[in-house]
């Protein structure tokens, strides 16, 4: 007996697609995983074999999100050297093109590494900001992109930027919901151990988090995990 395959376009089909998509993604709490869903779509839409998102921090640091396989060496080099197209802050819609990684002279170290990893050309697109931080997306190709119009990347860049915002918001809310449960439980542990009221326990948690310079939720999680609620001497 075989399971009948739903006809594409019908409701049964879209439900099956939705279920398949959901089950292919078990661990959802990670922003990087969410970002990888975006970079995979971009790879599929553009033919690029390496796609990654870069969030630029005000301090000059960077966060790489959703990088596809074999990009880690390149990402690490970006963080180690200032001179790479991925290290630059781009305005939304702005595009940098490295037509030949074998011969590029603007970012020789980065380009040569990309070349040695099998990527013949690269483009970096500025995306919309994420919580006030500039974001760019790198795309790497096995073939040279001579003659390709950079403008073709603008719409997909726009889509990726907005999608990253959504993923970020979802993950943020997911964390907030989790923190809420954890903080409530830590409160309860303190209430029972020290005979405190709920507001007193919260005040204690807040003070400890300030003293130990920990986020309230992290402190509460550590407390709930270890159940070590005795006050410090």
């Amino acid at each position: 007996m075989s399971t009948p395959t739903p006809t594409p376009g019908t409701l049964a089909w879209s439900l099956a697609q939705q279920a398949a998509f959901a089950s292919s993604w078990n661990s959802t709490e990670d922003r990087d995983k969410g970002a990888r869903a975006i970079t995979r779509v971009v790879a599929g839409a553009t033919g690029a074999t390496g796609v990654g998102l870069i969030v630029h921090w005000a301090t000059g640091g960077r966060e790489h999100l959703g990088s596809l396989p074999r990009m880690h060496a390149l990402d690490a080099l970006t963080d180690a050297y200032a001179a790479s197209p991925t290290g630059l802050v781009l305005a939304p819609g702005e595009v940098l093109t490295v037509r030949r990684t074998a011969t590029d002279e603007r970012w020789p170290e980065w380009s040569r590494l990309a070349h040695s990893l099998g990527w013949a050309s690269a483009e970096v697109v500025g995306l919309t900001e994420l919580r006030g931080r500039p974001v760019s997306m790198q795309l790497l190709w096995h073939t040279s992109r001579l003659g390709e119009g950079a403008s073709a990347l603008a719409p997909i860049g726009q889509w990726a930027g907005l999608e990253l915002r959504r993923v970020d918001r979802m993950v943020n809310l997911e964390r907030a919901l989790h923190s809420r449960t954890v903080i409530g439980r830590a409160q309860g542990i303190l209430m029972e151990r020290h005979g405190l009221t709920a507001p007193q326990a919260m005040a204690y948690l807040r003070r400890s988090s300030q003293d130990q310079q920990l986020r309230l939720a992290d402190l509460a999680a550590a407390m709930a995990e270890t159940d070590d609620t005795r006050p410090a001497p």
Binding site: S23, V167, R169, M170, A176, G188, I189, M191, E192
Partner: protein, 230 residues
């Protein structure tokens, strides 16, 4: 305008305030789908079950029942990320032994549960409760999925109002009936019974079940120190 946009706009016209949006959405959906009730629960995992809202007190009660019992189509939809349909609760007494019969006593015959998700991240579930058995029609299912999409936007909007901080959920707690007492009581019971938090939650759940009252009522008694475990 897209269906999601049109729906969002009509909710904004009807809602008295942002905090009123989730409940307005449930009422709107119940009317639109000719359902007895519609409710939304924000679910993270099987431990964080208290934020919910319904189109009526009865719908909210049906939702609370699932969260309290820890079983039902809502939790299954959340776990699997797929739409869960129970066309006849009378026939589901093996799948959800307590929930199916409790809901039936409250006059509910069928449930459709739609996960609230975006890009594979799940935030909860929207449940459609009906007094008659059977499946929703295709049009209604598409309509319900649109409501679920709008619900995600509404929840994100309410969270953004709090500055998207990891520890602030003020607007969401106002919009969904929030009861941190359950989490506080879980922490207290873990210490009292010298057990882990997961087991503590189960202890509270079991007592609520045996005494036939909501978990919140047991939790409140734990906090006021009129009930102790064991």
């Amino acid at each position: 305008m897209t269906p999601v946009g049109a729906l969002l706009l009509s909710l904004l016209e009807e809602a008295r305030s942002s905090a009123d949006l989730p409940e307005t959405l449930c009422r709107h959906a119940a009317r639109d789908l000719s359902a007895h009730g519609v409710a939304i629960a924000l679910v993270l995992d099987e431990d964080g079950l208290d934020l919910h809202v319904g189109s009526s007190p009865e719908a909210a009660e049906l939702e609370r029942l699932q969260l309290d019992l820890g079983e039902g189509p809502c939790l299954e939809a959340h776990r699997t990320g797929s739409v869960v349909v129970a066309p006849d609760l009378w026939a589901e007494t093996e799948r959800w032994p307590v929930y199916a019969s409790s809901a039936a006593i409250l006059g509910i015959r069928s449930v459709h549960a739609f996960p609230l998700q975006m890009g594979g991240i799940r935030l909860g579930v929207m449940d459609v409760y009906r007094r008659e058995p059977g499946h929703l029609g295709e049009q209604d299912v598409v309509r319900a999925m649109t409501y679920a999409d709008v619900a995600v936007l509404v929840v994100l909007h309410l969270h953004a109002m709090d500055g998207s901080g990891p520890e602030q959920l003020g607007a969401l707690e106002e919009a969904f009936s929030a009861h941190p007492e359950i989490h506080q009581a879980t922490g207290m019971v873990a210490v009292q019974a010298d057990t882990d938090l997961r087991s503590a939650l189960l202890l509270i759940r079991a007592r609520a079940f045996v005494e036939g009252r909501p978990m919140l009522s047991v939790a409140t008694d734990v906090i006021s120190r009129t009930v102790r475990f064991p």
